[in-house]
Subunit: 341 residues, 2 copies
């Protein structure tokens, strides 16, 4: 059993630096494409045997030190009574954006065992075979809310910020429901066997710190505090593009803080204080020639040496266009330079 990932999460010394990549199970892998060609993305998420298979693929191929459940942050949102669809090239679409008190009232806070049993079954299947830790995850409430309010992806998040600024009561009612759903969802994942839990706050980087503090932070804190009461699995909080939020993100109660590539890893370590640190190679840096890619990884390992636990990762999800050979080079470099025999 390779437990380096969990040791690093807890701030313990590790024999080598553990590494996993966000979206490591995904479109850049021909093996994934082969499964995905036969089934839609949502169906794949909902079929435990196949979801477990694609979760395992990058572990078997590259030797990552942690696996992350193959799923999507919007799966539990669909279960709140929303029509979710994924359009090729357009991303997720909610046919009925949530922008009124009526729409918020109609959202249900589902029981995960009833609404998303396939997620929990995937976790159980994986735990019975994996030799490395399994990470469960959810979207953080603000990020989830943007999808519900905008009806999908967005650039400027007009509807979300309009609701925050003009109808704060409606906004907070919505966030409270999303938070209740997410809290129950992550607790169920821990019960099913997830050994660490990551909260993805992918869009929080569009908020001024004062707005983050009022409209996003309290809900993250609440989920983590609820989790602490029932489980001791490490909790990772990834605030994407959150360099100006670190004075606040260090207060959410997470064990590990994830960083995107905009903040040099040495600065991230300095700001993270007592937290373990995860990140933060630019996913596009995987396109560097071997020698330069290895040099960049080497200096990240040097610059992160004072971290209270360090987990090597990308600063964002791996891109579909990434050559798998480059992923191999990166994972091997992290292991070799950090002393894995």
């Amino acid at each position: 059993m390779n437990d380096t990932f969990l040791q690093a999460c807890r701030g313990e010394r590790t024999a080598h630096t553990p590494v996993w990549f966000m979206r490591q199970a995904g479109r850049y892998l021909p093996q994934y494409q082969k499964v995905r060609n036969k089934i839609s993305f949502l169906e794949l998420c909902k079929t435990p045997e196949l979801a477990a298979e694609v979760t395992r693929q990058p572990i078997d191929i590259f030797g990552f030190d942690a696996a992350i459940l193959f799923s999507d942050i919007l799966i539990p949102m669909e279960a709140m009574n929303l029509d979710l669809d994924f359009h090729e090239g357009k991303g997720p679409i909610f046919a009925h954006p949530v922008r009124s008190h009526k729409a918020v009232d109609e959202l249900v806070v589902p029981v995960p065992e009833e609404s998303v049993p396939f997620v929990l079954e995937t976790i159980r299947l994986l735990r019975s075979t994996l030799q490395i830790p399994l990470i469960g995850f959810a979207g953080a409430p603000f990020t989830l809310a943007t999808y519900l309010i905008e009806g999908g992806s967005s650039k400027v998040f007009l509807h979300t910020k309009k609701m925050m600024f003009q109808e704060p009561k409606l906004y907070h009612n919505l966030l409270a429901k999303i938070t209740a759903c997410t809290s129950a969802y992550l607790q169920a994942q821990a019960r099913a066997g997830a050994q660490a839990l990551q909260l993805f706050d992918s869009w929080v980087g569009i908020l001024a710190p004062c707005d983050y503090e009022e409209f996003a932070l309290p809900y993250v804190r609440s989920i983590i505090s609820d989790l602490r009461a029932v489980t001791d699995v490490p909790i990772i909080y990834f605030a994407n593009n959150g360099a100006t939020l670190t004075r606040l993100t260090t207060t959410v109660g997470a064990d590990v803080l994830g960083f995107d590539w905009r903040l040099p890893i040495g600065d991230a370590v300095a700001r993270a204080g007592n937290h373990a640190v995860q990140g933060n190679l630019d996913p596009l840096a995987l396109f560097l020639p071997k020698e330069k890619l290895e040099a960049r990884i080497k200096s990240m390992l040097t610059d992160s040496r004072d971290a209270r636990g360090y987990i090597f990762n990308l600063g964002h999800g791996i891109l579909p266009e990434t050559p798998p050979d480059q992923v191999k080079i990166a994972v091997e470099a992290v292991h070799r330079f950090s002393g894995k025999s």
Copy 2:
């Protein structure tokens, strides 16, 4: 003559805090729409009388303390021998992305007086009538390069970073040509009468600091250094989403640094050192109710009091959906709270 804007640029005390908004001449104004309905965006940029008219509109309506030339950062790129088109909703499109040595070789470095005389004529027209300073502008080379390489707007900038990482010589050849063009373009604007010049680095926030230092910074520095040799107009550098780049952006040689809303204005002032500071209200904060909008502006004025020159602005361009009445509230609040009689 109201020179508060130029005084603030030079770090001098001002009778009140000057204010202008990025994209203050634009689609949110019915008066602009009326002009724009009769003519395409590119034609409007190329018709001096109309470009001057829409430049003046927000000054007459709201009493901004500076005007900015109505144009687009891609205008001088088209003049390099590229097919540029603007599609409604899709933004700018270059039909032939620049991704090969041949494509770079075919770019010309035009003489602004011959290639974009309409821009210089617009500046002269405006100078003959405006009672406030006129800002000229250009895109910064990295930002311009992303449009040329991607063929338009982008999310992850795959082609740009691939070229940087895999064909650095090609990338640097391209950037050198864009820089020569931009340098000549800004010098011509100063000769025509622009009283300050802003470089927009809209996309530089996707770069890790080490990549910014290698692939973007040298070209900004070169343009500013060339300008210093021929003109003493203040130079503003706006690195959008650049909070992690401030250790580097403070070295480009600008007089004024512009900031987006992610960095609290007090932190921006602290990091800007000897520079004047411009920014940085979230454009979406213009949707706040009057009282809260005014309170936010008031605290920005307080938090920026130690700046060596402060210019109130948004942290990014104003959105087309913004109610003009809210712009009026904001401009009046900046003036009233900063002591304009």
